[in-house]
Amino acid sequence: MTTVTDDKRATPPTGAAYWVRKNLFRSPLDGAITVVFGSLSIYLLFRAVMFVFVNARWEIIRVNLKLLLVGRWPSDELAVLAISFAVLGIWGGMVAGIIAGRQRQAGTSEAAKMTPSQRTSDLVRRFGLIIATILLLLLLTTGSGPWLAMLITLVGAVSGYWLGRMIGSRRLGSAGNWALTLVMLAIPVAIFFYMTSSVPLAEWEGFMFNLTSAAAGIALSFPIGVLLALARRSKLPLLKSTAIVYIEFVRGSPLFVLLLLANVSLEFFVPEALAPSKVVRAIVTFTVFSAAYIAEIVRGGLQSVPNGQSEAAKALGLSPYKQTSLIILPQALRAVIPAQIGQFIALFKDTTLAGVALGILDLLNGAGAITQQPDFRGQGLIIEALVFVAFLFWVGSFTMSRESQRLEKKLGVGIR
C-alpha cells in the first residue's frame, strides 16, 4: 500500500468560479442549457416582479380584502372573529407546547438539541411564510383593529406554547391525559359554536369558508377513511363489500358532480325547512369524497406492514383490537404520511369547487365577484384577483407539505 504524502493530497477546489464551471458549464451542452433556461427564468422573473410591484393594481384587493377573507361577515361582529382567532392562537400554541413538552420529557425532542440560532432558523423556515403572509395582509388593511387582533393572537400563541410546555412536561397519569386530550379537542369545537352563535355556519364565506370546510373535511374524513380501510380488509363479507362499494362508487365520480348532486338531490329526501345549508352540504360532500381516497391510501399502508408484525402481536396475546390499534395502524399510517397529506392538500384546493357548484361566496367566487364591482368592472383586474387567490392557496398548501416532510422525518425514527 502506498501512503499518500501531504503534498500529494489534493485539496478539493472551492470558490464561486469553480462551482459555476462544475454545475453550469461542464460541457458545451450544459452551457447551452444554462444560457437558454437561465435567460428564460430571468425573463419570467422580471415579468413577474414587474407585474407584482409595478403594473398590477392591487387596489381591488385592498378595497375588498374583508370580502375575500371572510365574505359578508357583519362588520359589527368582527370582534367575534378577533376573539376566536386569538383563542385559536392560544390553542395552537398550547398543542405545540404540549407536544414539545412531551418530547422533551421523552428525550426525543429535536428542538432541545438545537443551538438557539438553529432553533430560530428552524422556526423561521416553518412559520416565516405564514407570518410574512399575515403581515402582507395586515399592510393591506385599514385601521388598527386587525393589527391589534393579530398582536393579541401572537402573544396568546406564545404564552399558550409556554403553558403547554409546562403541562406537557408533567406526568399526568392516564386519567389526566384523557382529560387533557378532551379539553384540547373541545376548545376548537367550542370556538366553532361561539362563532356560529354569532354568525350561522350557512353564512361563512370567503377564504374562511375554504379554510374551515377543508379543516372539517380533513378532520372528519380521516377517521372515516381509516375505518373504511379496515372494513375493506375485514373478514366479514357484508362489512367488506359495503366498504368496497362505497369506495369504488365515490372514487368513480368527479367531486364536482357530487357537489352538484348535494346541491339538488337532498330536497328529494328532506323537507326544505330541514335541509342543511350549503356550507354543511359542502362539508359533508368533502368528507364523503375524501374518506374514500383516505381509505385507499390507508389500505396501501396496511398492506405495507409485514405479516410478521401481526403474528408477533398475536403471539403476545394482544386482542385483535389492540393488534390493529397499537401495532398495525401506527406503522401503516406512518408509511403513507406523504400520500395522506397530499390528499389533504388536494381537498383544501378542491374547496374552490364548492364555491362554483353550490354558489357559495368563497375566496375564488369572491375574487370573480369583485371584478364586477362598478369601480373595477371591465378593467381586466381578474388577473390580480386570481393571482391573490392562487397565492393564498399556495401558502396553505406549501405549509402543509412542509409540515408533512417534518412529520415524516420525525416519525421515521428507528424505522430506517
Partner: protein, 259 residues
C-alpha cells in the same frame, strides 16, 4: 388417553412428570398440500425439545399450530390442560401462556426496545407502567442488553434484536417458549449470543420447543430431539441416541447431509 407415541417410538417419548403440551393426531393442510400428517407429540414441563429436519418438513408449521398462528385441520392440541378450539378466549389464553421467537425477530419498529418488551404486560396483563418497566429492564439485563433500552429496533444488530425478542416474550412470563429458527437470519458471529440466552433459559427450567439447524445446541441443551420429514415425525430420541445411533434411514440421510 392412550399414548399413541409409545408404540412407535418406544421409551424415547416417555414423558417424565406432568405434560405441558400434547399434540394428538394433528393434520394441517395448505389448500390441497398436506403440511402435517398425524403428528403425535407430548412435551413435559421443563423439557427442552429440539425439532430438526429438512426445509419444508413442517417443523415451523407444527410449532405455529401450538399458538394458533396456523389452524390445524384435524387432531387435538392441548397446552397446559387447555385445548385449542375455535373459542377466541381459549386462543387468547394459550397465547398469553406461550412465548414465541421468530426467525425474522418481528420486533415492533415504531416502539423503543423497552416499549417492545413492556407492551404486552401493560396491554394484556394490565400491569402498571412503572412495574412493567422494572420488569422490562430486568429482562433486558438478563439477555445482557439493558443499555439498548431507549433505542429503536432498527438501530440494533440482528443478534441484539433477537435477544430483545426473547425478552419481549419472557415479559409475559410464559409457561412455554416456542423458537422458530431463531438464529437462521443471523450473521454467524451473532448466533452464539442468542444461543447463550436460550441456554440460560433452558437452565432455568423453561419448557422450550426449538426449531433449529444448530446441531451443537441440540446436542448440548435438548432433552429430546424430534426429526421431521415430509410433514411427519420420523424419529424421536435423546440427543445421544439421535446423533450416535439413529434408527431411520431418512434420519441417517439428513444427518449425513448436515454434519
Amino acid at each position: 388417553m392412550t399414548d399413541i407415541n409409545s408404540e412407535v417410538f418406544a421409551d424415547a417419548t416417555a414423558v417424565q412428570g406432568d405434560v405441558m403440551i400434547e399434540l394428538i393426531g394433528v393434520d394441517k393442510f395448505f389448500g390441497s398440500f398436506q403440511a402435517l400428517t398425524d403428528i403425535n407429540l407430548k412435551i413435559a414441563r421443563q423439557e427442552v425439545v429440539v425439532v430438526i429436519g429438512p426445509s419444508g418438513s413442517g417443523k415451523s408449521t407444527m410449532i405455529r399450530c401450538i399458538n394458533r398462528l396456523e389452524e390445524h385441520d384435524a387432531g387435538r392440541i392441548i397446552v397446559d390442560g387447555v385445548e385449542l378450539s375455535e373459542d377466541v378466549k381459549n386462543i387468547q389464553e394459550i397465547r398469553r401462556e406461550t412465548g414465541m421467537v421468530f426467525q425474522q425477530f418481528n420486533l415492533f419498529p415504531h416502539l423503543s426496545v423497552l416499549d417492545n418488551v413492556t407492551l404486552a404486560p401493560k396491554q394484556v396483563r394490565n400491569m402498571p407502567k412503572k412495574e412493567a418497566e422494572d420488569l422490562g429492564m430486568e429482562l433486558l439485563t438478563r439477555v445482557k442488553i439493558p443499555e439498548q433500552a431507549k433505542k429503536y429496533p432498527g438501530q440494533l444488530s440482528g443478534g441484539q434484536q433477537q435477544r430483545v425478542a426473547i425478552a419481549r416474550s419472557l415479559a409475559m412470563t410464559p409457561k412455554v417458549m416456542l423458537f422458530d429458527e431463531p438464529t437462521s437470519a443471523l450473521d454467524p458471529e451473532m448466533i452464539g449470543e442468542v444461543l447463550d440466552s436460550m441456554k440460560d433459559l433452558a437452565k432455568e427450567g423453561m419448557t422450550m420447543i426449538v426449531v433449529t439447524h444448530e446441531m451443537g445446541f441440540a446436542r448440548e441443551v435438548a432433552d429430546r430431539v424430534v426429526f421431521m420429514a415430509d410433514g411427519q415425525i420420523v424419529e424421536v430420541g435423546t440427543p445421544e441416541h439421535f446423533f450416535t445411533n439413529p434408527q431411520e434411514e431418512r434420519t441417517k440421510l439428513f444427518l449425513s447431509q448436515i454434519l
